[in-house]
Symmetry: C2
Subunit: 400 residues, 2 copies
């Protein structure tokens, strides 16, 4: 069996984040420190790398590479979107046994926790001693049983900073092009979109309206909201989830989008913000501008949250500790301490309780009108994102 | 006449930048230091503020506000897009005379230098002693007679960082969604799009293709370029100017875009990157993802260039020095010193030589194929943008 009691493998899955490699770095560092860990393998492009036996040797990486991963965006091992099927089970078990892999760490979100749970059950059924400890990662922040998910604080910081900055830009242009829509990731859950509200430092600051999938908004209400805000200050900054809904289950404008065809005759997907932009300019006669930073939300390290990078690393180390201590299956979770001051401790949840579940923005995190986050949300999210710096100034409007 | 020889007015015009308020801060600081300057007025929303006599008293601003402007995005005075017409002349001259304004500073790009030049000629023709010293500002970097324009280095830094980070994200996903298009501002000039090339730190890094308006690319050539890059490494990151052309004067896909109508029956503008995305997915069968950060390019302070903020401030101060020293009209310019090391000195150009002229990316800044910037461009742009930090790592692909 060589060095240690068994070999370890780690994979990354789903959309990358700014912090996903920080978790990988934590796993490698802890694995190197644990005597019971033999070889340290990386799945090249997620579970597919395990299936194809494309394994990267993580013991043969220079020290500065493992350290540098803590601030490198993207998934350094390569990622994948692949749902394990029953047809894959035999092959997976074969590779695990042949390679004497006893510790599996999968860094990912909902689908990944499902994959981890399947692997764990598979090994148990086959009587193969295996520890599967999942590491949470998703900018959507929708995993249950954890205060938040690594990756979310940095993406939330991007959204807050982008809202603050594009807000100043929009304010400058005034009535010439008064409406700005920032389209934010998150098809089902509004956690990331709600983070836009962290941009507001003074009364009247952007954002002015925040729409999340959990709170559908009819077209008439939307028009009313925007018109009301515009009358107040001559410009309106809207943070709009890409999954914002018109009514439960129906994305805003989806019936319009689906009628359009592209240059090849394919039906075009209805983009929520494109629809809303067209709606507002058509019905209110106001110029609308869009920002669609898309994948920059989960990759721009210039907006990384220091809390996030640190926690992601700690969660990675903890996963290995749990594995070598004999725990058979779990996802590492973050548990917020009582305070004063922000700190999260590490704990575990059973994969059975995490897999295939989605945590939506709770009702108390949005106002009654469903168009702005509450103080309770801000209190939750602010320590994750940190202070927005530098501080900005505004000229006093002393007219002569 | 009160304090000083005459009063000073400053306005901001066109699209804001991360650095436009740094120039404003420099102007106010220098004006406060000059004994010959009496009142210091700000035009509320550009030349319209002068026309409407909506003037902000800049002597009545707290010290920390003027200092804080150096790092505040947006146009603190409010901006405007308005072309002065002959019908406005009488009114402008009347306000200038009545308010004893002797120094005018207009911070802006091409249109603003034209406005400044008109004001200068107007005063000269009326025999009214006036100094008009324009302050360059544009993320497009297309003003002539200056090494570069304040505002450009920060926007270029955003584009470089965004390309580097979304490049890592795209690389992670590999063949699952292998094509990323980053749409970059600049309808006529490719300076900002070319800055994407600063993201490349190792051979093979993103970006892989860079398309600028100055170098039209036919649809067949585009398909060939992308296919070639995809064969090499299974993913392709493209920096695409919003004004990229198919042939001289014809935006890529403009004939397709113009055929489509929105939900209200209005014709939709053809977005270059949307067209290219549809083209690539249709013809090559590859998944294409888009980033359209739009106004974040000119506002996200997290990507501000330190060189830019400093130069913008210096240019502002210099404008006031030139005005009080008796210069009647000019735009402040940046002149790159011989080196070693990067430094720009300040000089002046006549508004007559600047107004209504556009500086395109020179031929030697793009390769023969017209799909990537040259080393000469990188040498020009790198000191403006500065080092991209933190350094990123990549795992060595030691397969077991």
């Amino acid at each position: 069996m060589g060095r240690g009691k068994g070999n370890l493998i780690v994979g990354q899955s789903g959309g990358p984040t700014v912090a996903i490699n920080s978790s990988l770095s934590g796993i490698i560092h802890e694995a190197l420190a644990q005597k019971s860990v033999g070889e340290i393998y990386g799945m090249y492009r997620g579970i597919r790398g395990l299936l194809n036996e494309q394994l990267i040797d993580l013991r043969r990486q220079p020290v500065q590479v493992i350290e540098g991963l803590r601030q490198t965006p993207g998934a350094a091992l390569g990622s994948v979107r692949y749902k394990v099927t029953e047809g894959d089970y035999e092959r997976i078990l074969d590779v695990l046994k042949r390679r004497n892999i006893r510790y599996v760490h999968y860094i990912g979100g909902n689908d990944s926790s499902d994959t981890s749970w399947k692997l764990s059950k598979l090994a148990a059924a086959a009587g193969y001693e295996l520890s599967v400890i999942a590491v949470p990662k998703t900018v959507d922040n929708d995993l249950v049983h954890t205060d938040h998910c690594p990756g979310y604080p940095s993406a939330a910081r991007f959204v807050a900073m982008a809202t603050r900055d594009t807000g100043r830009d929009t304010e400058s242009m005034g009535p010439e092009s008064p409406i700005k829509i920032l389209e934010v990731m998150g098809r089902n859950a509004g956690w990331l979109t709600a983070a836009a509200a962290l941009a507001r430092q003074e009364e009247g600051d952007a954002p002015h309206l925040v729409y999340v999938p959990e709170r559908p908004v009819g077209v008439d209400q939307l028009l009313h909201d925007v018109e009301h805000c515009y009358r107040e200050r001559e410009y309106v900054v809207i943070a709009m989830s890409e999954g914002a809904q018109e009514s439960p289950g129906k994305t805003l404008g989806e019936e319009y989008g689906s009628k359009e065809v592209d240059v090849f005759g394919h039906r075009m997907k209805g983009g929520v913000s494109d629809f809303v932009a067209t709606l507002l300019s058509g019905k209110l006669g106001l110029k609308v501008r869009l920002d669609k930073p898309n994948y920059l939300q989960r990759s721009l390290t210039a907006c990384a949250s220091a809390v996030d990078l640190d926690e992601a690393y700690r969660v990675g180390r903890q996963a290995v500790k749990e594995a070598v201590s004999g725990r058979r299956e779990a996802m590492i979770t973050l548990v917020r301490d009582a305070g004063p001051g922000y700190h999260c401790s590490l704990a575990v949840a059973s994969l059975a309780d995490v897999a295939n579940k989605e945590k939506m923005l709770p009702a108390e995190f949005m106002n009654t009108e469903g168009n702005y986050p509450t103080q309770a949300f801000l209190t939750y999210a602010r320590p994750l994102v940190g202070e927005l710096l530098p501080a900005y100034e505004r000229l006093n409007k002393h007219f002569v």
